[in-house]
């Protein structure tokens, strides 16, 4: 199935993109995608526990199962205001 990934702030700087599409296997969970990114970027390895995730613009748990067409956002703790 096909999902969209969005990353923000420092995570975007590290990943070098802000948005991309991925083809992934059915029933994949959020944490499996996060693991994929952490493995591919050494700079993320120490920060995995601080990362936040949202599916379709709603905060989600790491064990959430993704569906075809979902947008998964991965980002650091927020700092607005």
């Amino acid at each position: 199935m096909r999902i969209k990934i969005k990353v923000f702030a420092s995570i975007r700087d590290i990943c070098g993109f802000s948005e991309k599409e991925l083809i992934v296997s059915d029933f994949i969970k959020v944490n499996e995608i996060v693991d994929l990114f952490v493995k591919g970027n050494e700079e993320l390895s120490g920060r995995k526990d601080t990362l936040l995730t949202a599916v379709n613009e709603e905060y989600c748990r790491m064990d959430k199962t993704l569906e075809d067409g979902d947008t998964l956002a991965i980002f650091p703790p927020v700092s607005g205001g």
């Binding site: 702030a9 709603e58 980002f75 650091p76 927020v78 607005g80």
Partner: protein
């Protein structure tokens, strides 16, 4: 009345105060967050705000609805800037109008506290010597 805006332009407080003002408001409480010239010992020159726009709008509306359901509010206006915001400029404005000042203070405080916890906005501070994403600090 509820208004949530995410905008690049500077915020005009007179415009905000006039927006759907009603003679039954009683009181307005306005929180204004501004870019400060120093942050933990460093000299700040400006801030760049990154924002997950669609999700931020959803969360801001949700926070406004939560505040409304717990307090008697005639107006809620929340405006957050994105992009570059320079020294002394307003990065966020929260206006609540209520016949009761208890409601104004509690709801305004609730809104700013929740925004800082959950709305997907990130600030990158620029100093005279470098820059830093603030979200990475904690």
């Amino acid at each position: 009345m509820k208004l949530v805006l995410i905008q690049k332009d500077a915020i005009d407080i007179n415009e905000v105060l006039k927006t759907d003002a009603s003679n039954s408001d009683g009181s307005d409480l306005i929180f204004i967050g501004k870019v400060r010239d120093n942050s933990r010992g460093k000299s700040v020159t400006h801030i760049d705000y990154d924002i997950y726009n669609e999700m931020a709008v959803k969360e801001l509306n949700r926070i406004a609805d939560e505040a409304s359901s717990n307090h008697e509010l005639n107006r809620i206006i929340i405006i957050h800037r994105y992009g570059r915001v320079t020294l002394g400029e307003t990065s966020i404005l929260i206006l609540v109008s209520s016949p009761h000042r208890d409601s104004s203070y509690q709801s305004s405080r609730y809104i700013i506290d929740e925004i800082k916890k959950r709305v997907p906005i990130w600030k990158k501070e620029f100093y005279t010597d470098g820059s830093e994403w603030i979200s990475d600090r904690s």
